[in-house]
């Protein structure tokens, strides 16, 4: 790829989704562009970039989506889900015992494994059956991923990574070689395409935010902006879960880590001490 074309692509993807593309990843980038080239009928990256320079929005959107990483698995980074189940959820169930309402956001849901993993943990607690209102919102920048997640169908290989066999039998039905999530869990999740750089106005009063393995693709300024926006939407005693390779330290004046729970962040020292003590 010509340096000029690379710089144009990097700026486009950064502007539209905050993603940072680096020159050493040129091969990976060209590989991801190949699916877009096939879909739109381009024979070369040069031709594709030339068309992008004319400002074709559907193409720019497809290229941006192709640059996102959609790797995921059920209960990925198990420790984060254990922290949610053992520290965050017990506190919220007690603190929200009057309103009986929980609002949880899976911010980069890819093919849906994360929100459905959360739904399984909520189902374990029988919250909906006990009259709780659960808003489990799942978003991704990729429309294709959102559609896949909403469909809730996973391959033989996908359901065998991170999912205990008892959960598979309890929560999925077999469809040929694939497995479909049961309707009660699928209905628990509201899916929507959403860019983390856009306005969060519709995401108020959140109790928990899962924003995992997405900040790593942003530059420092964008990471801080996203964390600030999450902080605004999160309830004072709410919790943020990041990926195991991510941190809010040095990026946010609001979030504090919880001792012995490396993925977990809360707003303020009192909340951090309370959850650390509960662990």
């Amino acid at each position: 790829m010509a340096p000029d074309d690379f710089n144009f692509l990097a700026q486009l993807v950064r502007r539209r989704a905050g993603l940072v593309l680096t020159a050493p990843k040129t091969n990976l980038i060209e590989g991801r562009l190949s699916t877009v080239m096939r879909r739109f009928g381009f024979r070369s990256v040069d031709a594709l970039v030339k068309e992008l320079r004319h400002g074709r929005d559907t193409l720019a959107r497809a290229v941006t989506e192709a640059m996102t990483t959609n790797e995921s698995s059920f209960f990925r980074d198990r420790a984060a889900f254990e922290q949610f189940r053992d520290l965050v959820l017990p506190h919220l169930i007690e603190a929200r015992s009057d309103s009986r309402r929980l609002r949880i956001w899976s911010a980069a849901c890819a093919a849906g494994q994360e929100p459905y993993s959360i739904a399984m943990l909520l189902d374990d607690r029988k919250l909906a059956a006990n009259g709780w209102s659960i808003d489990l919102i799942a978003t991704d920048v990729s429309a294709e991923m959102v559609a896949r997640a909403e469909d809730g169908v996973y391959s033989h290989f996908e359901v065998q990574r991170g999912l205990a066999i008892r959960r598979l039998v309890a929560h999925f039905s077999q469809e040929g070689g694939n497995w479909r999530i049961h309707e009660n869990l699928r209905r628990m999740v509201t899916f929507r395409q959403f860019n983390l750089l856009d306005s969060y106005g519709w995401l108020d009063d959140l109790d928990v935010v899962f924003c995992r393995n997405v900040l790593i693709y942003f530059d420092q300024k964008t990471k801080s902006q996203v964390l600030d926006k999450i902080a605004e939407m999160l309830m004072p005693d709410g919790a943020l879960l990041l990926g195991h390779a991510e941190t809010a330290s040095g990026l946010s004046n609001v979030f504090l880590g919880v001792d012995h729970a490396p993925s977990l962040y809360v707003k303020g020292r009192i909340a951090a001490q309370r959850l650390a003590a509960a662990g």
Partner: protein, 121 residues
């Protein structure tokens, strides 16, 4: 070192599974049917058994039912690894005392994930 008995009538599957398990720091032994697997367990009970379903002489489910009846206190982790990929077979295996279930075809990622599930990684 953790040890695993790989029980499968296919020499190729045994070889592939053993290689993956050895890369994951397991010592491995092999058996080609339920009868020879029982003999191996009676001589030295492994921590983990990777178990095929369809085998001559004694199949996987018969082996598991027999195993779970003997040697009180010795409960190795049993992970089925089979082409019987339907809910009825999975349920039957769990009811007979299987700890986990791998649906063939498998790869290293699946074996690794299942070992995490049963607490052996």
């Amino acid at each position: 070192m953790k040890n695993c008995l790989v029980v499968d009538d296919s020499r190729v599957i045994r070889k592939v599974a053993c290689r993956i398990l050895q890369e994951l720091d397991f010592e491995t032994d092999e058996a080609e049917d339920g009868i020879s697997a029982l003999a191996a367990c009676r001589a030295r009970m492994p921590q983990l058994i990777l178990l095929d379903w369809n085998m001559p002489n004694m199949n996987g489910i018969e082996f598991l039912k027999t195993l779970r009846k003997e040697r009180e206190g010795m409960r190795p982790v049993v992970v089925f690894c089979t082409t019987e990929n339907d809910v009825a077979h999975i349920t039957e295996a769990l009811n007979a005392g299987a700890n986990e279930y791998i649906m063939k075809p498998f790869d290293r990622g699946i074996i690794e994930a299942k070992l995490v599930e049963v607490g052996l990684m």
